[in-house]
Symmetry: D3
Subunit: 317 residues, 6 copies
Amino acid sequence: MTAFAFLSDSSFLKSARNELARPYGIGGIAWDGAVTNRPGARFGPRAIREASHMLCDGIHPHFDVAPQNQLTDRGDLPLPNTSLADMRYAMAPLVKTLIRQHHMVWLGGDHSITLPLLQAYREWLGQPLAVVHFDAHCDTWEDHFGEPSGHGTWVHEAFQQGLVVPECVTQIGIRSSGERAAREYVRDRGGQIFTARDLRGRDGPAGMAPVVQAIRERWQASGRPPMYLTLDIDCLDPSFAPGTGTPEPGGLTSTQVLTLLEELADLPFVGMDCVEVAPPYDHAELTSQAAAAFVWTYLCGRMARSAGVTTAAPSSS
Amino acid sequence: MTAFAFLSDSSFLKSARNELARPYGIGGIAWDGAVTNRPGARFGPRAIREASHMLCDGIHPHFDVAPQNQLTDRGDLPLPNTSLADMRYAMAPLVKTLIRQHHMVWLGGDHSITLPLLQAYREWLGQPLAVVHFDAHCDTWEDHFGEPSGHGTWVHEAFQQGLVVPECVTQIGIRSSGERAAREYVRDRGGQIFTARDLRGRDGPAGMAPVVQAIRERWQASGRPPMYLTLDIDCLDPSFAPGTGTPEPGGLTSTQVLTLLEELADLPFVGMDCVEVAPPYDHAELTSQAAAAFVWTYLCGRMARSAGVTTAAPSSS
Amino acid sequence: MTAFAFLSDSSFLKSARNELARPYGIGGIAWDGAVTNRPGARFGPRAIREASHMLCDGIHPHFDVAPQNQLTDRGDLPLPNTSLADMRYAMAPLVKTLIRQHHMVWLGGDHSITLPLLQAYREWLGQPLAVVHFDAHCDTWEDHFGEPSGHGTWVHEAFQQGLVVPECVTQIGIRSSGERAAREYVRDRGGQIFTARDLRGRDGPAGMAPVVQAIRERWQASGRPPMYLTLDIDCLDPSFAPGTGTPEPGGLTSTQVLTLLEELADLPFVGMDCVEVAPPYDHAELTSQAAAAFVWTYLCGRMARSAGVTTAAPSSS
Amino acid sequence: MTAFAFLSDSSFLKSARNELARPYGIGGIAWDGAVTNRPGARFGPRAIREASHMLCDGIHPHFDVAPQNQLTDRGDLPLPNTSLADMRYAMAPLVKTLIRQHHMVWLGGDHSITLPLLQAYREWLGQPLAVVHFDAHCDTWEDHFGEPSGHGTWVHEAFQQGLVVPECVTQIGIRSSGERAAREYVRDRGGQIFTARDLRGRDGPAGMAPVVQAIRERWQASGRPPMYLTLDIDCLDPSFAPGTGTPEPGGLTSTQVLTLLEELADLPFVGMDCVEVAPPYDHAELTSQAAAAFVWTYLCGRMARSAGVTTAAPSSS
Amino acid sequence: MTAFAFLSDSSFLKSARNELARPYGIGGIAWDGAVTNRPGARFGPRAIREASHMLCDGIHPHFDVAPQNQLTDRGDLPLPNTSLADMRYAMAPLVKTLIRQHHMVWLGGDHSITLPLLQAYREWLGQPLAVVHFDAHCDTWEDHFGEPSGHGTWVHEAFQQGLVVPECVTQIGIRSSGERAAREYVRDRGGQIFTARDLRGRDGPAGMAPVVQAIRERWQASGRPPMYLTLDIDCLDPSFAPGTGTPEPGGLTSTQVLTLLEELADLPFVGMDCVEVAPPYDHAELTSQAAAAFVWTYLCGRMARSAGVTTAAPSSS
Amino acid sequence: MTAFAFLSDSSFLKSARNELARPYGIGGIAWDGAVTNRPGARFGPRAIREASHMLCDGIHPHFDVAPQNQLTDRGDLPLPNTSLADMRYAMAPLVKTLIRQHHMVWLGGDHSITLPLLQAYREWLGQPLAVVHFDAHCDTWEDHFGEPSGHGTWVHEAFQQGLVVPECVTQIGIRSSGERAAREYVRDRGGQIFTARDLRGRDGPAGMAPVVQAIRERWQASGRPPMYLTLDIDCLDPSFAPGTGTPEPGGLTSTQVLTLLEELADLPFVGMDCVEVAPPYDHAELTSQAAAAFVWTYLCGRMARSAGVTTAAPSSS
């Protein structure tokens, strides 16, 4: 046997595979071995790619661009699957190479993949990153039910390891239960949190303006660091994203997320991941189509608004 | 064999079948041979009828009327099913007769059925129509992947054939991808578009007042033409309507659509269709119940607000 | 045979079972023999308990408390299941005992269980109750398709039997069809109704303030009677709660309900039920997780805001 | 309100409704208030009718007849739904009339409907009946978890009430757990049992010959009493019939049941019921289509083989 | 827009795409516009390919070969989708080319694709073909509900057009209803039929020997014509293949089909199609995995047993 | 946080928990971190327990015993979940204790748990074991896609580590693809294999007699070693067990497995595991109910036939 059956054999937007000269790239990290509840996110990369095929000839209605010709799909990383530590060890050199070749969007997989991604960007860029973090959960646990790392510990680890600019970490959509120290972890270290509760009844560019403004101001005040976007699909309410591992009622709507992605598009993101899409619990591709739309919007936003920011010049961020 | 197994054997609201003297009628067009992605809308008429049975003794909470005694179900049209052209050819005389017998609501079926419906109304009424068009997609393609007509070309064809009053065509909920020429087709010809993005954060009569006002003003400014309502269920976000063929994340909520149907009720609609309900992708009747509620609200609105407008007097529109 | 297979063998939040000294208790009433459409709510108690396990170590993000140590699960009541009358007869003495032992939250079951619950509270407290009633349906029918009582008659019966303070009955989320006399039943007797239509576009504490204020003022004006909360999960739009027996499109969002539960938390509730969760129609635990979150929020609100109100001192309400 | 939403508005095989002169009739008994586990069989009559539409122009491949023109659908009986006793009381006079009008096939509903059906046939025919009983469960409990009657007690009750000829009661497919007295109840009273275990590896006319022969011989030896067929769909293995309330692994295949229905067709059945089809747990109509095929095979067998036996001449049995 | 969203972007067994030198090829015909009941077979090619990925490193346990290196996937044919006639017109030249390049296995699509496939083979080979036809339905209708051709008419058309050797047409698994003339059409013209009823209780090489022997003898007696295999997945019982358009209870088991495919492997097949896999009605990939296993078994059988028979030498058959 | 949300809070057959004096015990190993395709078996212990509740008052129809009073449920083992090696390290001492307290049945979890179980039994009993192994897959890979151990390597590892008596290893139901060395691994080392193909058409005690006889004879010829039963639910055909991670068409029926469990019951088994039940892919509890029935049958068989063989006297095996 040479490869796991769950690895994908198709490409995002049916873009050409492994075209090294294209500026944007897709990479799948089909790993779900660090979830605390429902597994299945290993099928996320495959399902998001399949869902993207509805968009494969599309031009974005807001940004008026189409990403196909600038995009290549680099497939799913070949990774071991019985140990988080071994997976991350194998993942590191692969990521190191890919982020130097393309502006990458990573399709997870569970949220434990974001820590090694941040480590790679931190090392490559030579500075800590601003992070926009969509999620139902704060992911600031100090351990994973007794183990050192899981899919709910990466924010804590990123702060501990100096991967992020604390004032430029923004969490959006948080509503998970937990002790105050965990819930306020980011705010206690200088970052900001917009809980799902804070955003109830807000939508559209006007409704979301305070969020966008706050992110922008902090970024400017902190010396305009490079930004990273991590989007856990469970930021959405379960009615919009049933196909995920740890759903939490009372979440964001898909239009709230789309509004933020559109309004934040001119910030200098250097990469994105979209994680925790777990197709076995999905229905009629609700979740994977939402994820595909978010990734597509991010890519179109990059191309439309940030022409000067490419992976070849990260310091220009 | 005499009839396809998918034709319905029950009636909307359990209303009496084939009562020619009743002013309102239901007709099913169980055709889905022109869809670009997921087929199944042939089961739409059956599923919407079944879903309507929860309403069969109901009195509408907003309009305070009940449509059962004024309504008859004329069943599903007998149609060939392997060719769009042949289907439309067979459909035309049947529709011609029915719209003269009743104020009809048509249950689709995919959106390719709206073109021959508009042709029939245009011919009968002797003038082009105002159209209120709920949809995720603009349906203005100039071809169907190389074929002349499909479920995404009818708006283009209707404009080309002079079936509509351009200034009185209003699209609501649009969010599909595509080139600018297609996306702005209706606006470029004098019509108006309220994208799903435009409506984010708007709901209730106050929130929707600008939309309602704009439709009304254009109608008055254009000589008060008869109006037609076409409602593609994919105007709803997929979380509200998973059972459809080409879902698009970021759509309307069911309360947004209900608000508009209620607020527009005093306009002189001469007919309605509700299309693209594809039950194989539905769950727990979410989509068919939404469709049944929309059709029921339309019918109750007709009866409550437009007592003077019946199929016997189309010119009074 | 000794017990029905559908009775639950697990406990809400994995709390200890049958700890008589704990102030809060959970009781299941796994009965769905009085529904007019889709049965299955007998599995509601089991599904809500299973769904609660995602919260079993949680601390509420708004109230900053955790209910586990003050809570006990008393299991599902042993009840006959072929006759509503016999079921209620068997239920009465069991409820009588339990409400004197704990501040109870009841997991239904269909809404026909609320009448005997109100009877028990009325008798115990010696006075009629204020009621906050979340529902799509007004439940004011005078009969159940020819039978005297069902899941849609209990409001009428409660008024007739003097179980409630009419001015302090508030219905929230109503949108069902029916004759005016039924729809306005509560208002005609002095109560108030916030239909789903009334709440379109309102969310968050500010958006919901008029509702909260109105409930509070009536309660104060009526001598501050003890309050009871009955939450039919179909108050939610079917996209948020597909797993219910009589879904109605156009309903509340889960954040609207959460907002109201949080904002009303300092009122002197003496008990709650959450009914009509019908798991056979659910998907990916959407409905049971929403129900679990609502019950958990209620319990945390009780503990956080109403320290002085316990089951030992109902008159202090 | 006048009727429950779950009552069917279509007819078996799309046959004409309420044609009193036709010899064969279909009646629905949409009741599931006496089940011990998963409810939902109230939707059985609707689902079996819908499933039958695939057969509506069919001619039976084994019997070479088509039943449509001799068949009428009498709809679902109007019945109260919160009490088994009240339901049976309302059901009795309706059944009494129908069995004198047509050779009826009854679509359940749960198995508690068979007792009043047998009572009606016993009274009409003036003698006890032979019964062929397909089921996973012996249905010989002496009570229903403390109540006198349920869906698992009717065999015991039928014996106690003298409704059956003990030697001519044959149970097929039995595999449920229970004490020996219940499992062997029928055999202890002179009847015979072919458990699912007994039939493992047997199929086709040759394989089933001993079963058929044994039934025939007992019937002849007992004076050729009229026969009744009651088919609980859970006689099938759950893989063939997931949509039922109390599935039991290790059951019959659909070809085993078809073989027996075909081979027994020349016996003088006076009626049949098909019960416990619970559509909420079904997938892709597996269960309702199996049920429709069984009912259709029974009807075709009647018409092909038993021309002399009609409802007008029950004594000829 | 350039291509329908439902076309597949992955390959069978992850084999290399468009390798013209490889002897075996896969072609998808994603068309379902001629079905009489549930559409969805357009997703069949995609689903069968995805399901095959579990086998992508496999060596067949019976034939001890692996097809990957001799196989190429030629993708889905680009076809119009609103007219059967237009689709067949576009399909013909594509098929003509492909069958000369590879020994093809065709993934449908509905069964209306088999007629033009047989036409292409007939023309290329210069003689009529023997056909082994697995199906629940005889597909011998003389029209398609009034239209000349559909998915149930191709056998009749093939006989009329002289595409087949009548004595060498074998139907296996037939159980559909219909008039005698249709059911016996093939037998009346000299062919043979093994109904599902005929095969009850038969399995394994010994049990299936008479079927295999009869096919072989007729083939030898008729001058050893080239053979074609068409496998409608609804030959399987719906419990094994719920994901199909016109399921029929009482069908074959997957082991019966596997046995026949294995035992017939040394006959000189020149091509195969596997049709009517309709993924929207499938569960957990039951149907698409069965289809993938059948195609894989056919391919392995070809390679193991028929080394001398390649597409370059059809006359050697 | 103290425990994963997926751990079960109910018990098999609703038996009492943690009763150390009872001879039989249930233990859950909710681990699925070593699967090659679809994860989800971590929910297996919970689902099998829930499914068992239909049997909770049952007496086995073949063995005429009921296990409740001799059985205790020891819950799910507390285990780390991001590393197979760490999980096995934590599992070992827990298993060591439990097998000395009770005759255990283990609910998996994926098949990687069987290796440490065999290690524990081997150490405790002081001798290698006979193994009856139901499975679609031979599980004899020498590595797990590059890692040393997974869910498909345990048979190889068990042979290498001397945990089994080679002549007494019997594989039943095997049909997976793979190279000859893997497929014949067990036979090459002296064991025996009954593939699913070998068993086609065999069922019932007579049909299965050769299998039973062969197992018994080898056991006697090898000095009657203690036996272990490992049952991978994917031995069943996917139609009987869709809820599993690596389904393979062409598998056993549930009656074939039940027959073997019944016929083998008098052999001296010292323990059993039932693995690879993956509820996210299940429908209507088909798979978990089959698993529950198998475990229940094993337990009843133990109690009925092997009164002298208890965990207190392993050497008597």
